[in-house]
Subunit: 269 residues, 2 copies
């Protein structure tokens, strides 16, 4: 672990990341000493920092720190957090204070090996995502909605929960983005009022563009999900999981999802 | 400063308070070695912990720590934070992990002395509060909306900003609760879908009940504010500020607000 470039696992209790969740983060996968899609993750991190008015650490600086960590930990889950730094004067940001940045390395989660190929059981969560257009898409540290949603799943066979907004639009998984396949076309929910836009979501969208696969980013209702040919979830750690069961409906063939998974697993952006 | 009962100002980078804003806090005022309204603050802290499923630290334990700190710092702003503790397994809470609790002491802010009597300049913020009934009223650590709102005010003479929800209901100040006086009755916004319920808000409501002053907790639009006899803001640090200017409308007499301020300043619950 690194805190502002130095080995350590502690941060000030006055850091605004703790006080207000005033920061952003990304989670990426390292394999054989390579951090997968790091440039894309940095681009998102920088975008999210800018959206909150936080000075994002330099790409070169973060890359050097990441490479140092990769020498010690060639495999695992890497998490980078950038906060607005220390502050005690209330909610208004102190423009003179510098951002904090933190690296943590965690073991790879022990997901059952067949979830990527045979698919996962998914449930609808009861908690709904609130609308906040100013924060939508950003992977910020205000994640209580995700905590509430994940709490609903318990220690069951359910691999992931789907979240809807207050108007019954399906938005995402608790920690993943959702795609729908119907008659050869791809669909994914728009994230303009809530939700987190992940790197793998961008990669699927880009794959569809490159391969001339029709791709729509728009509002999606649960009825459309039930009527889909395939459903799948993506994030940088699980990569891609097809959905085999959702609220009583079952799927068993995932030709499009499998093709996309092979692309996501094989290419390092 | 105390972290889990021990002197210190550092916390683990794996604390869920930092990772997800997964915790709650209260801010209270100490004067001459007395923490004002501490039992009420504890009650709110406990309520908010329960609402999030966090085990709240014992009242006796926190009171002992608070008293130790008051011997060193008889005057100032005391902040207590309770988080769900450390965790690395994603959003789902680890039920075996214990909560963390943190005390910080800060100097009293140097507000102009006449703001309590002559009133303050207040502006409407552009950012709107999102609806999240599951988190409404709770003083949790997901405070990016407040950060965005406070950022709008800048270094001006504006003492506080008012926040509306997406349906044009006025909800609160960025760090205070709002009351309206009209024809001898009191009104304050309902906080069932967004907003933070402060201790001083409860105290004003209780004061009205004891004194047979009509008191309504309901939706309030900006037009009603402009038509009010008096407006005032409360929190545990400022105690009470009448509003003298809001978006071009001015007030100069605050008889009800002044009576309530004297009550809030004089009584230790």
């Amino acid at each position: 672990m690194l805190v502002n470039g130095k080995p350590g696992n502690l941060i000030s209790i006055r850091d605004r990341g703790l006080l207000y969740g005033d920061g952003v983060f990304r989670t990426l996968r390292a394999s054989l000493g390579q951090a997968l899609n790091w440039p894309m993750h940095y681009q998102k991190l920088q975008h999210d920092c800018t959206a909150l008015g936080i000075a994002s650490p330099d790409f070169k600086l973060l890359s050097i720190e990441l490479n140092d960590l990769l020498e010690l930990h060639p495999n695992g889950v890497f998490k980078v957090i950038v906060t607005r730094g220390e502050g005690t004067r209330g909610y208004a940001p102190d423009v003179t204070a510098g951002a904090s940045h933190i690296w943590d390395v965690l073991p790879f989660p022990d997901y059952p090996v067949d979830w990527s190929s045979a698919g996962v059981i998914v449930r609808l969560c009861q908690v709904r995502l609130g609308f906040q257009p100013r924060l939508a898409g950003i992977k910020h540290l205000n994640r209580l909605e995700n905590v509430l949603a994940a709490s609903e799943l318990g220690n069951s066979d359910v691999a992931e929960g789907l979240l809807m907004d207050a108007l019954d639009n399906v938005i995402e998984g608790t920690r993943s983005n959702l795609f729908l396949v119907k008659q050869g076309a791809l669909f994914t929910p728009e994230l303009t009022r809530c939700g987190v836009a992940g790197v793998q979501r961008d990669r699927v969208i880009e794959w569809a563009r490159r391969n001339d696969i029709p791709m729509q980013i728009r509002k999606i209702k649960i009825e459309e999900l039930m009527d889909a040919d395939e459903l799948f979830l993506v994030n940088s750690i699980m990569v891609l999981w097809p959905i085999r069961t959702l609220e009583g409906r079952c799927w068993s063939n995932f030709p499009v999802a499998t093709t996309i998974r092979h692309y996501l697993e094989g290419v390092d952006g």
